[in-house]
């Protein structure tokens, strides 16, 4: 028994190249679900479409009276950046749902019994959700354009703007992965996942300028990441005059702030999620 340990090799780690292949295989597996069950994609699209219609037609008339919004060339130009961020962040809840469903079905047990990188399962989940979010974002861009959205900064800025919103949603899917692995059932994960989302999305500049909020709420809304990212996306897609009228910083500095939030969230929640995944006790 004691001499045995001498002949046992040191713990093998899964190499980076192999981890990338495992991540790809699991991403494809998860993405296939959206392709084979298109109703999932439709469901994910319907909700931001309803938000778009409600905000445009129910609140749009009133919101357009706000000076900065008028300057932006109508509410649709203010709203679409917010909708892109909202859609992407709400979509991140897919990570919590997908992982808890896999846990319930025993799929995570199978993955955890294979000689693969532990991060591959989580990365494969978040990448597949990023792919789905991208499809939904493109649909929203198309719809927005039909409703009169005209990004002012040119194609490059528009692509950067959409990409930034998607990246933020991607970062948030690591938060949701951690929430899912901590709560363990799809029902609890959904409830817990939406809990931070509603205050973050609504107490932000996503749909409305924060200036009309009470001072304490405005102070929170101005510094929290969803406002930062929505403002960055907005600054990239509205003209200079509207940006100044809305009191937004210059695009470059907003983009940098948004990227810092994105990196910060992944750096904190990524390892946390992997740790929770390793310790699933069932």
């Amino acid at each position: 028994m004691t001499t045995a340990s001498l002949s046992i090799p040191r713990s093998r780690r899964v190499g980076l190249r192999a981890a990338a292949r495992h991540t790809l295989a699991i991403t494809v597996r998860n993405a296939m679900r959206f392709i084979r069950l298109p109703q999932l994609l439709i469901f994910h699209t319907v909700q931001p479409v309803i938000f778009l219609l409600l905000f445009t037609f129910a609140f749009g008339g009133a919101i357009e009276l706000i000076p900065g919004v008028t300057a932006a060339g109508g509410y649709i130009n203010y709203l679409i950046p917010g909708i892109l961020v909202q859609q992407s962040v709400f979509g991140s809840i897919g990570a919590a749902l997908g992982l808890t469903e896999d846990l319930r079905a025993g799929v995570l047990d199978r993955f955890r019994s294979l000689p693969i990188a532990r991060s591959a399962v989580l990365a494969g989940r978040t990448f597949a959700d990023l792919g789905r979010n991208t499809v939904v974002a493109l649909i929203m861009v198309g719809l927005g354009t039909a409703f009169g959205w005209r990004p002012a900064g040119g194609l490059g800025s528009a692509i950067l703007a959409v990409g930034l919103a998607l990246l933020f949603g991607y970062a948030f899917s690591w938060v949701m992965a951690a929430i899912g692995l901590a709560t363990k059932t799809p029902e609890a994960a959904e409830a817990a996942g939406f809990l931070p989302l509603f205050p973050l999305v609504f107490a932000s500049s996503a749909f409305l300028p924060t200036a009309t909020m009470p001072g304490w709420l405005e102070a929170f809304a101005n510094v929290q990441p969803i406002s930062i990212v929505a403002n960055a996306v907005r600054a990239l897609t509205i003209d200079e005059g509207a940006r100044v009228a809305l009191g937004l910083a210059d695009p470059a500095s907003l983009v940098v702030q948004a990227l810092l939030w994105i990196v910060g969230i992944v750096v904190v929640c990524g390892p946390l999620a992997v740790r929770l995944y390793r310790r699933i006790s069932g």
Binding site: R12, H22, R29, L114, P115
Partner: protein, 320 residues
């Protein structure tokens, strides 16, 4: 000293979940090339032990060696040597059977081409080739189980762990699964399986460990366990008027006490089915027509009763 021929070597493994002691000092070892069955009721600790052996959870204390690899020091090494089919068929409904297996192949670092070939090979082995291009959502429960076992075979495991492979499937699928497991064993795969059925453990395994309340109660071959229990019983029911004649016929072919509880006759069947055949012939010769005649295996309850002097915890809890 250490030997690679040990499939599993577990010493004093303890695992608690909060206040519940799932494994209370389990020690167990068996060699490669054999089938080991863990027999026990619900909640006995079977699944927890499988989860410890497959590196899904770490024990609180004790040592675990699987395929000669220390699970605490080199879990990835253990994972490379094993296959696991858990209690739920962990396959994706929206993928075809072949796609499910190809994905697992890629997770074993096979190229696309190798993964496809390996999937075909395994599908053939589990007799699912025909259904392989259908989405798994259309499969029966038994087919899903077979596909799940197939997924655990993709990595050519040295040791296969099957957690209650036949629980919840219909009797026909159970037989199919038994045949499949027997084929795998014939091809040289070492298997550790868990079951709640003595009959299943008897049918499939070389060695049986009886587990209850997180402890290994006893261990032995099916024959040893049966011997401890007095083996199979023949139960014969005849018209009351014919009981004496029937008892005479039974005594003529079987040594041992014949228990009569009007109008049922019970006797040990030392040679199992052969004893039954002998009884049938003897009855026939005397023109005695049984109303009912059966060869009865000891039930799990009787195993526990005989081994521990009390019923299995899980079964008793369920009955309560």
């Amino acid at each position: 000293m250490w030997s690679s021929s040990h499939a599993v070597r577990v010493r004093d493994v303890v695992k608690t979940f909060g206040k519940v002691t799932a494994l209370d000092g389990v020690s167990l070892e068996f060699e490669e090339g054999m089938v080991y069955a863990l027999l026990g009721p619900n909640g006995a600790g079977k699944t927890t032990l499988i989860r410890v052996l497959t590196t899904l959870i770490e024990p609180d204390s004790g040592t675990v060696e699987v395929a000669g690899v220390d699970a605490a020091k080199d879990p990835v090494g253990v994972r490379a040597a094993i296959g696991l089919a858990g209690q739920f068929a962990a396959v994706d409904d929206y993928l075809t059977g072949r796609e499910n297996l190809r994905m697992v192949g890629k997770l074993y670092n096979l190229s696309s081409k190798e993964a496809r070939r390996r999937a075909d090979e395994v599908l053939e082995r589990i007799h699912l080739t025909e259904a392989s291009d259908r989405q798994v959502g259309t499969y029966s429960g038994g087919m899903r189980r077979r596909l799940d076992i197939a997924a655990s075979l993709v990595g050519r495991p040295r040791i296969l762990f099957l957690d209650e492979p036949t629980t919840g499937v219909d009797p026909r699928s159970r037989l199919d699964l038994w045949h499949l497991i027997e084929e795998l064993v014939r091809d040289g795969t070492t298997v550790l399986l868990t079951t709640q059925y003595l009959e299943e453990a008897d049918q499939l395994s070389d060695r049986i460990g009886v587990i209850d309340r997180g402890r290994l109660v006893t261990e032995g071959t099916a024959d040893e366990l049966k011997a401890a229990l007095g083996g199979d019983m023949i139960e014969l029911t005849v018209e009351e008027a014919a009981v004496a004649e029937a008892a005479e016929a039974v005594r003529a072919v079987i040594d041992g006490p014949v228990e009569i509880e009007m109008p049922v006759i019970r006797v040990a069947a030392p040679n199992g089915a052969d004893s039954l055949t002998a009884v049938v012939k003897a009855l026939d010769a005397r023109d005695v027509h049984p109303i009912d005649l059966s060869l009865r295996r000891p039930t799990l309850d009787e195993v526990f009763l005989a081994l521990t002097g009390e019923g299995p915890s899980g079964v008793r809890d369920r009955a309560a």
